[in-house]
Amino acid sequence: MPGAPIVEIDDVWFGYDAGRPVLRDIHLAIPRGAVVGIMGQSGCGKTTLLRIIAAQQLPTRGTARILGRPTRELDRDGLFAMRRKMGMLYQFGALFTDLSVFENVAFPLREHADLSEDLVHDLVMMKLEAVGLRGAAHLMPTELSGGMGRRVALARSIALDPQLILYDEPFTGLDPISFGVISRLIRQLNDLLGATSIIVTHDVQEALGVVDYVYFMAEGRVIAQGTPRDIRASSEPFVNQFVNGSSEGPVPFHYPAPEYGADLALAG
């Protein structure tokens, strides 16, 4: 992975409660221009890690250096200045339901740039064209399908041409066509804007077709990393189980429970 890191996570620990760490000893270095996947099963800490990268949470220990600045040192203005260079796509889009598609995409432009109405119109139309929804500009979010909503949210997240784009479970609940459309858009927009993208997902097979590099997480730690080819060829039992979707492996099918016979009152 060539290029200087745009995201550096160095020995990061984090816990919502003292004594119960959600993230443990995390090290990441993500270079400019890359599309990186953070994968793992639900509850492994990957969304928390994304929140650390977005500076929505500060590490309990260690340093998160994003776009060259440690998040711990940022005040409110510094935080907002950094976020102007970031875009984030939420799991279900998080579109503003009282605004039309056009106004949703125009929102960051109106908030941060003093542009003429004509220029705002042209920029919004360009962003919507990039996600194939220029014709839906007049619709309200409630009139969109799940996949269309996700594409509008993507257009909104790139409205200010961010350097870093974060995706929180972008494929959840999509049909196969929308799935393919979103994954192609993530790759295309990243390369077109010269941005860096981080995708948090558990949809392994689709994500492996888009990303340049993968971090695999389990129980708050990074347990494997490498290119998609490395991951597919990995001998790590957890990665194998996850990539192949097998019920046999280190992640048990059964939640810990007392003896079956005891629960059915068969013992003794």
Binding site: Q56, R76, A81, R83, Y90, F92, A94, L166
Partner: protein, 273 residues
């Protein structure tokens, strides 16, 4: 001996529970106060881009007009009926206008309009902000480097603060009109006496101005409670539902308690002096 130990343990448990509840209430009040202070500090957007606040005045004020005007009309009509019944026993039915106007301007206008405002607009503000939180819209706004307190909360707060006194004034005006309809048109009280006695008895400073102060205080209280409950709501369907209920209950109690305190300060002080 063991019996006394058991009683002592139980008493200590109850005291701890009570203490925990009191601490939680104080902590929440402190949190709400810090939230209010933060909102005041970041109200620049709401005032600079006043169209954001105007939109909320429309939402909380204009859309509450029907319930406020209809309620005001009926309250005034009932006041006139009840008032006439009592006043005529003492041969003072000509003072009906004074009774209706003072009751409305001093008490019923701000209080009933405040209670209606809390149920109609306060609950809507809490539900809207709570749902925005539950659907990650506030979080998305933060990630776009836009402070949701400045962009979403402050315009709703100031919209409520501005709307409330106007709604209370309209409520009182409509109530007086209702009193006129029943007292003068229906019962037949002399219209000259109705209006002239009202004009002579209602004082701008001690009656109308004090009523306006009450409605502004109620507007601040209801809007503060509504935006805070929405912003602090647990981001689930049940959490938003509970927050909306809390807004209506807490606002109503706050209005009644504040009304007592303000009335004691304004009118008792005046009489004493």
């Amino acid at each position: 001996m063991a019996f006394f130990h058991k009683i002592a343990d139980e008493a200590r448990g109850r005291l701890e529970h009570l203490g925990g509840n009191v601490t939680a209430v104080v902590w929440r009040l402190g949190f709400a106060s810090r939230f209010l202070a933060y909102m005041f500090m970041h109200s620049g957007t709401a005032l600079r881009r006043f169209r954001l606040t105007m939109a909320e005045i429309y939402f909380t004020g204009v859309l509450s007009l029907v319930i406020i005007l209809v309620s005001g009309l009926f309250v005034g009509m009932v006041l006139a009926l009840q008032g006439y019944e009592t006043l005529q026993r003492f041969g003072a039915s000509e003072s009906l206008g004074v009774l209706v106007a003072l009751s409305l301007v001093r008490e019923l206008g701000p209080v009933v309009a405040g209670l209606l405002f809390a149920s109609r607009a306060g609950s809507a503000i809490t539900a809207e902000i709570g749902l925005m939180k539950a659907t990650e819209q506030l979080s998305a706004m933060e990630m776009m480097a836009v402070d949701p307190v400045a962009r979403v909360v402050a315009p709703r707060f100031w919209g409520g603060v501005i709307s409330m006194p106007l709604l209370a004034a309209l409520f009182s005006g409509m109530g007086i009109f209702g009193g006129y309809l029943v007292g003068v048109q229906l019962i037949g009280v002399d219209p000259g006496a109705f209006w002239s006695q009202m004009q002579a008895a209602v004082d701008v400073r001690s009656d109308i101005f004090n009523g306006v102060i009450k409605s502004v205080v109620f507007g601040v209280a209801v809007s503060w409670i509504a935006v805070f409950e929405g912003f602090d709501a647990v981001p689930t369907a049940e959490g938003v539902s509970r927050a909306t209920t809390r807004t209506v209950v807490t606002s109503s109690l706050a209005i009644l308690a504040l009304d007592f305190v303000l009335t004691a300060l304004m009118f008792t002080g005046g009489n004493g002096g």
